[in-house]
């Protein structure tokens, strides 16, 4: 792919992201009068600004972070089925967040409890999955079979932990846990959005800055070292940045799967496998996909809403099966 074409794809993806940011808040079960919004008249103004804009922005930022994390783990593990969901990292972050909800820890060290819990959970699972690879640097690749089985085991253990905690949490907290676990993109405060925006921007910036390193690492460690990469340092920083992205997104949205699988896979096969193109495109298009799923969930059975996580799972589950079948066919 020529440089001009690569640049064009990145700009197109960014353009799609911007269009989604502007257009999707207007999508919903009830129409919104632009005139009323401009005059700041209720309820249209409040519905748009307080509800739809914030949830669209949350979907865009969280989806972008999760999609980029998927592309990152796929490069680190040389496995296109690796994503926060299949690796069990989402489940670990969920368990961590649920622990803080069940314990009534609204804040930990001045930070929202679910953020801290999700971060600790994500780190713990990633250390479990990637730890042996980081320590024994000669065997970096996990087979798809090992990875999926590890993910299933981690998901099962975390699900069991969440069930046990829900049983002992009492009615009010148990309801909070159930609501959080649905994996939806609800309206959130602009302060939380701001924090998530900073976390995702910094994490994404760091990951994108190393894009050439991820390309080299995807070929092999000897290859990467001989082309100027300090593999141990790069893997370690990828581990931290990926965990922070996943934990930050999941703390606000609940467990949302598949965005980190579908988008990087499509970009890799349809646009470019080069991380300098793949990663920014996956970032922008991942955010767009989650925001579109959220918008679909708002309009498909009005006035009820289907959580974005459920819409994405309905697309992502069959897509994962299709990807596995395609690989078998090859």
């Amino acid at each position: 792919m020529r440089v001009e074409t690569a640049r064009r794809w990145v700009w197109i993806s960014a353009g799609v992201f911007c269009v989604a940011t502007v257009a999707l808040p207007w999508v919903g079960s009830g129409g919104i009068d632009l005139g009323k919004v401009l005059r700041r008249e209720g309820p249209d103004y409040e519905i748009l600004v307080q509800l739809r804009v914030s949830r669209t922005l949350l979907a865009l930022v969280a989806g972008a972070g999760l999609s980029l994390a998927g592309a990152l783990f796929q490069a680190m593990l040389r496995e296109s089925l690796a994503d926060p969901y299949t690796l069990g990292i989402s489940a670990g972050a969920s368990l961590g967040a649920v622990v803080t909800i069940a314990a009534g820890l609204d804040t930990v060290l001045g930070l929202p409890g679910t953020w801290v819990g999700a971060l600790v959970g994500a780190f713990a699972v990633l250390a479990l999955v990637l730890g042996p690879i980081l320590v024994g640097r000669s065997r970096r690749q996990l087979s798809a079979f090992t990875m999926l089985l590890t993910g299933i085991a981690v998901n099962s253990v975390c699900a069991a932990g969440i069930l046990i905690l829900s049983s002992f949490a009492g009615i009010v907290r148990s309801f909070s846990i159930s609501r959080w676990l649905i994996g939806s993109v609800d309206a959130t405060s602009y302060a939380s959005l701001g924090v998530l925006g900073v976390v995702v921007t910094v994490g994404a910036g760091f990951i994108l800055w190393q894009a050439r390193g991820w390309n080299l690492l995807a070929v092999g460690e000897q290859w990467a070292v001989s082309r100027g990469v300090r593999v141990g340092r790069l893997m370690g920083t990828g581990f931290v940045a990926g965990s922070v992205l996943v934990a930050g997104a999941i703390a606000l949205t609940g467990p949302i799967g598949f965005v980190g699988l579908i988008v990087p896979h499509l970009v890799r096969s349809r646009i470019s496998p080069d991380s300098r193109v793949l990663m920014p495109c996956a970032f922008f298009l991942g955010g767009t996909l989650l925001a579109v799923c959220d918008a679909i969930g708002r309009v498909v059975v009005p006035p009820a809403e289907i959580p974005a996580g459920a819409v994405l799972a309905l697309i992502g589950g069959p897509y994962l099966v299709w990807v596995i079948r395609q690989r078998e066919a090859v």
Binding site: L216, A218, S226, R227
Partner: protein, 256 residues
């Protein structure tokens, strides 16, 4: 006088309790084409890993262009040493051209390669006769085609020390000859080429020097002319090998 580019002084390395290299020492300079030969498990690939900085010696030192390898920054070293590993995963999603362009990464801070980088990539791919597959995905190439692409990536890196682990793997006979001939030309242009190989005849025909590893040490370090004069060193490989002279007088390793 030959510029010394590589010095090993008592280099040692082991995997846990298993010693692979025990006090390996030799020097090599610009214009030389070294064949590293030895039986399986002799430590040939590990030796290249020490020189490329992928592994650190547990004892002794590896010096590239006057400085110990660990004193270099990773990128600084990669401008001096290029390494073609023995095995690269075949299922890579990159195109041939994207893979070769990775050889230019150490030379630029720009997000994408410059026009000059593209020119060097094309020159390297034309040299190894793989430019026509530039748009093809690496995973769709045959073993020999992949090897030519990887060789081009090493060429595009423009390092003064080329480390090649079995560079003629998967190549047909004509391509093996072209590969070693090209490496010899690189040496004659002032580079140091170090190739691990099991093909003693290719080594004797194209290399300038042979370093035989056995039991973790340098068992023999000789010019190809010396190697051709006496065949006793062949006992280090197999009792069935012997040195013969071809019709034109060229030394030839045959087996019975």
């Amino acid at each position: 006088m030959m510029k010394i580019l590589l010095t090993l002084e008592g280099a040692e390395f082991g995997f846990g309790a298993r010693e692979v290299l025990r006090s390996v020492s030799f020097e090599a300079g610009a214009g030389e084409f070294l064949a590293i030969v030895g039986a399986n498990g002799a430590g040939k690939s590990t030796l290249l890993d020490l020189i490329s900085g992928f592994r650190r010696p547990s004892g002794g030192s590896v010096i590239v262009d006057g400085r110990r390898v660990e004193e270099y920054g990773a990128r600084e070293l990669s401008k001096r040493v290029s390494h073609l590993p023995q095995a690269v995963h075949a299922d890579l999603p990159f195109t041939a051209e994207q893979l070769v362009a990775m050889g230019r990464y150490p030379h630029t801070d720009k997000w994408f390669e410059s026009e000059e980088d593209h020119r060097l990539v094309r020159a390297a791919m034309e040299r190894t006769q793989c430019w026509e597959w530039r748009e093809r995905r690496f995973g769709t190439l045959s073993g020999g085609e992949r090897q030519r692409v990887l060789l081009a990536a090493c060429m595009a890196q423009q390092a003064e020390v080329l480390l090649l682990d079995e560079p003629s793997n998967f190549l047909d006979i004509d391509q093996q000859l072209q590969c070693f001939s090209m490496l010899r030309q690189e040496a004659e242009r002032g580079k140091l080429c170090v190739a691990v190989t099991h093909d003693l005849n290719l080594a004797m025909r194209f290399c300038t020097r042979m370093v035989v590893l056995a039991d973790g040490v340098v068992a023999r370090d000789m010019s190809v002319a010396e190697a051709a004069r006496g065949g006793e060193w062949l006992e280090l490989f197999s009792g069935r090998l012997r040195m013969e002279a071809a019709g034109d007088g060229t030394a030839w390793v045959s087996y019975r």
